[in-house]
Structures are given as C-alpha cells and as structure tokens.
C-alpha cells in the first residue's frame, strides 16, 4: 500500500499546475487520490472516532432524558468529526433535500433533536481519537486550531462581510478546512508522518509536503470527501482552495484564509503548519496586506480561545 503511494509521488513544483487544472475543468479527482482511495478514505471516516471531550459530553448529556437540545448541538458543533458525520447524513440521498445543509442547527430542524441525539450517541460509541497517533500528529492541538479558526472566521464574517456570507457557514468552513489532515493522520499514518517530517526538515508548507509525499494535499482530500458527501459547493471549494493564493476570492474563503493565517500567526493550537514570515497576506483585497493591522482588526480572540481550550482539553499555550 505504502509503496503504491510512493510510486505516485510528484514534486511540489507541479502544485500550481495541478491546481490550475483542477479549477479549469472542475475535476476534483486529479492527482493521486484515485476514486478507489477516495472510497477507502470515505468509508474509513465512518469508523473514525470523535474527540474525547465531545464523546464524554454526549454520553453525559444523553443519560438525562430531559437534556436540553441546545446542549447537544453545542457539543456537536465543537467536534469536526461529529459535524462531518451529521452533515453527511442530512445531505445524503436518503433525504434528497433541495438545498445543501450547512449547519448542525439546520440538521436538527430537519431530522429532529432525538434523531440527532441518537446519531451522536452512535458516533460516541465508535470510541475516542487518541491524542497522539503514529503519525506524530497531536489531534487536540489540531482541534484547538480548527475551533479557533472557526470562531475567528465567523467573527470576521460578522465584522467584515455582513450580508455577503452567513457567519455560520464560515464557522463550518473553519471547523472543517483541515479535515483532510485528521483523515490522513488516522488512515494514512505512515505517509502523513513522512509529510510532517518533510515539511519540518525542508521548511516547506505542509500542503506542499503532502503533495510530495502522499501525492495529494489535505485540501483536495478534504474537498473530495466533502463533495462525496454532497456538502455545499462553496464549502467544498473553500476546503480545496484554502492554501491556494490564486483561488477565486469570495467572502467565505477570504474569511477562512485570513482566520487560518491569523490563528497560525498567533500560534494558537497547531495543525502541523506553523506561520512563516514569508507568507503573503491571505486576502489582501478585503483585509489589506499588513499582517499586524489584520491581527489588530480581528481584535481579542480571548473568548474564542478560552472556549476552544476548554473543549480541546489543552493547556493555555501563550
């Protein structure tokens, strides 16, 4: 298996070409992620456990027949794995809904809180993600990163893109933008381990290292899964393009990319891709090109960070 992957490696220099091709013909299935592997990763997500805190909270809440629906929703919304699984169900062919569902709240209205509660209990029964895996990827610091990016993207949408995009959609984009990494860490452990090392040793961004070592980066892998689960096209594009400086600007991707950059700049959490001084500003047209000014504009993230830390169960990092 691992040998087969390595045979399909391609150099980072082909990244731009692949991206351009990808956008040109809207074909997400370019690169080494074959339909067969996509199916394998997709099926593997079914067996992917959720994060420790949400599993614990769901088990706790569901013991009480009168638990508040909003408490169940709050737990699911903090867990990328549970959120993915809920959106996957609600957008599945079983319901053939006329429009794509992008939030946990909408899913609750459609399916009813008891069904959502029982689904989440099923997710909790899969087990819990161990903090460290053989890839050497710390899933709790990853969760902290995802949660703070999610909260920041929502805040940016409210502050700077009012009326252009639903802040709730930006939250989901932030929560799920790096979902490909957690899938890699769980199911392509050795390859992802090599990619993390490649990135650290050569000082290249993780997505380029993934492309070199695995043959596909976490953005494309996440997007393929999101498309397979018929998530909204905007969300699929955001996940795919969040590292692509040439991506078509939109309120959602602008908020996501700036949130991601600010959170990495401030070193809150860690998704294996630290901020680099050489990075160009993510969405200069909307947010300007002065990193310090962008950070100042975002303002204090204290509340978002506090909530995220409590949930991700990591200590204060700065």
């Amino acid at each position: 298996m691992r040998r087969a992957w390595k045979a399909q490696r391609c150099p980072p220099s082909r990244l731009a070409l692949r991206r351009a091709e990808c956008r040109a013909d809207e074909d997400l299935e370019l690169g080494a992620l074959t339909p067969e592997l996509e199916r394998k990763l997709g099926a593997a997500v079914e067996r992917m456990p959720a994060f420790p805190r949400s599993v614990q909270k769901i088990l706790e809440l569901t013991r009480n027949i009168n638990c508040l629906p909003k408490e169940v929703v709050a737990v699911i919304e903090m867990d990328p794995v549970m959120t993915v699984k809920i959106l996957k169900v609600i957008n599945s062919a079983y319901y053939s809904l006329p429009s794509r569902i992008t939030s946990v709240s909408q899913s609750v209205v459609y399916l009813g809180i008891n069904t959502i509660k029982n689904l989440s209990l099923g997710f909790a029964a899969v087990g819990i993600l161990p903090r460290m895996n053989a890839a050497g990827f710390d899933v709790q610091r990853y969760l902290l990163h995802s949660l703070v990016v999610a909260g920041t993207a929502r805040q940016l949408a409210t502050q700077s893109a009012r009326g252009e995009v639903d802040p709730g959609d930006c939250y989901i984009a932030g929560l799920l933008h790096d979902f490909g990494k957690i899938v890699f860490a769980q199911f392509l452990t050795a390859e992802f381990h090599d990619a993390l090392r490649y990135s650290a040793e050569r000082g290249v961004p993780l997505h380029e290292a993934e492309l070199a070592v695995i043959g596909v980066d976490h953005g494309l892998a996440g997007a393929l899964l999101a498309r397979r689960w018929t998530f909204s096209a905007e969300l699929v594009d955001c996940i795919r393009d969040h590292h692509d400086p040439r991506a078509e600007p939109s309120a959602m991707i602008d908020c996501l990319r700036v949130a991601d950059q600010v959170v990495r700049y401030r070193a809150i959490g860690d998704a294996g891709n630290p901020w680099r001084a050489t990075e160009a500003p993510a969405a200069p047209l909307r947010f300007g090109d002065d990193m310090e000014a962008i950070v100042a504009r975002v303002g204090s993230l204290e509340k978002i960070v506090e909530d995220a830390m409590m949930f991700a169960q990591v200590g204060k990092e700065q």
């Binding site: 929703v73 809904l97 399916l111």
Partner: protein, 298 residues
C-alpha cells in the same frame, strides 16, 4: 376520493367502556382513490379490522404508507391477514432510518423476528414489496399521487399528501410543530428561528389548496407545556394551522390513550372555544374529531 378511519388512538391500543365511541385502535386510515386504488396510511392495530374487511373482495392490492416506525404505527402489520393469502400484493412504503441504518424492509424484518412473532416474512404467501420514500418525490398509486413531506417527531416521520383529480388530503402521522431550541437571549436564537420559520413556510407552501388536513392532535395547549419535545401536536395548534392553510376541513386524530370519550369531547369543545366564534365564518375549516368508522368523501 374516500377515506375511512380504522384507528385513531395514539401510543397504545385503549379498548374499554371509556373509549367506545371514538375507538381504541391505533393509527390506520384507508384511502380509496377515484379509481378505487387502495392506500393505507399506517399499520397500527386498526389495520387488523381493515384486513378482515378486505378479505371480502380478493385479491387485495394495497399500498401501505408508513409515516414512521414507532410501535403504535406498525403494530398491526403482522396481523394484516391479506399478507398471508397467495395472489394478494402489498407494497409497503416508508423512510430510511438513519440511526439504525436500515430501510423500511429491514425494519419490518426486525418486527417479525422469532422472539417476537411466530411467522417469518418468508412464510407469508402474499407478495410483499418495499419502497423507500424521499422528501417531496411523489409516488403514483392508480389515479392518485402520494407525496411524502418530512415532519418533526423523535424518529424520522413523513406526512403524506394525497392528490386525486383535484382533491387533496394531508395526513401528518405524528408531528410536533418545529420550535426554537434556544431561549430568546441565547446567541443562536435568531438564526435557529429563521430556519424554523423557513421550514414551516416550506411545509405550508406544500400544503396549499388542501381539502382535508388530518393532524396529530394528541394534547391540549395546556398539556403541551409539560410534553414539549415528545413529538405531538395540539388541538388548538392544529385548528390555527388549518385556518392559516385555508384547508376546507380538519380532522383531529391520535387521541391520548388515557382520554375518555367525554374528556376528549370536552378538550375539543374547549379548543374550539379558544379558536373563537369569529373563526366560524365562510371559508373557515370544518373541524371534527377522528373516530373509528368515520367515513369522508372528498
């Protein structure tokens, strides 16, 4: 189109002297389209007497639409005698259970397990087919169409709108109108309310021009406050809903198992009074309680 109510009770069969007039069987409604195609809504214990009636004219061709799979809506199915007679054919329609990961066919199979019932499905001599319904995708039955609409209950529940030559009826199965899970001071309140309003508006739009609304009216408005989230509607709420929809007629069903005939009538009268005399003018819906044996012609 004609309808006959064979079971109007919610939750559990409730036979006895106190329920003689409205009946104790759980949900089952027979619908006949203009070309006499047979549609059966739910298979509560009311489907047993319906089955006996159907034996008078064989073979039986029936389409059973399950709103959901809670016991009181499926309990009569193994006792639906036409299933045992060669030459009959019954198609059972229902939703996919996302929690159990099972379709309607497997759910019935579970009901007929050795521990719970003496006959296996394979031993039933009638022809049984299964069909999974999807939101808003109409199913043709003779000269009628049946359109499933997703409602709100502790398990996935489809209401069914039946249209036949310009006449229409909607049966909710079990349904509690959507409500906000947040308090007005909570951060998510407004966003959630928008989704709720949108969902209700979509449903109302799908029920435009309705001749008859048959709705889960388990509770009174006063009882509802301590039964929120149980998945059922109220007499008062459904009267207001039928008025808003401009439906010509409302039949209130899924009566509480503990409610005697007298209590039921008292609750109904009180709800009508709450609705007010101003509602009784031209174009206001005719409102009645469902009872076993009630026949309606649309």
């Amino acid at each position: 189109m004609k309808m006959r109510f064979w079971g109007v009770r919610g939750s559990i069969p409730s036979p006895g002297p106190h329920t003689m007039r409205y009946g104790g069987n759980t949900t089952c409604i027979e619908v006949r389209s203009d070309d006499d195609s047979l549609i059966i809504l739910d298979a509560g214990t009311g489907i047993f007497p319906l089955g006996q009636e159907l034996l008078k004219r064989l073979p039986v061709r029936a389409n059973v639409f399950m709103t959901h799979t809670h016991w009181d809506h499926i309990q009569g199915l193994p006792f639906f005698t036409p299933l045992y007679i060669p030459g009959n054919s019954v198609r059972i329609h229902g939703g996919y259970d996302v929690v159990a990961g099972r379709g309607i066919d497997q759910i019935v199979d579970v009901q007929l397990q050795y521990s719970y019932f003496p006959v296996r499905e394979a031993e039933m001599r009638g022809r049984i087919e299964y069909a999974t319904v999807s939101i808003g995708i109409p199913v043709a039955v003779g000269d009628a169409t049946v359109t499933p609409l997703l409602l709100n209950h502790p398990v996935v529940n489809y209401g069914y709108r039946i249209d036949c030559n310009g006449k229409s009826v909607f049966f909710t199965g079990d349904h509690e109108p959507w409500s906000n899970i947040y308090a007005p001071e909570d951060e998510g309140y407004r966003e959630y309310q928008q989704i709720v309003d949108q969902q209700q508006a979509q449903l109302d739009a799908s029920l435009a021009g309705l001749d008859l609304l048959v709705a889960d009216s388990s509770y009174t408005a006063a009882e509802y406050s301590s039964r929120t989230g149980w998945g059922h509607g109220t007499l008062e709420g459904n009267i207001a809903w039928a008025q808003r929809l401009g439906a010509k007629k409302l039949v209130c069903t899924h009566h509480e198992p503990t409610r005697s005939d007298e209590d039921l009538e008292r609750a109904f009268e009180a709800a009508l009074e709450t609705a007010g005399p101003g509602q009784a003018g031209d174009g206001a819906p005719e409102i009645m309680l469902a009872r076993e044996g009630l026949e309606l012609v649309l």
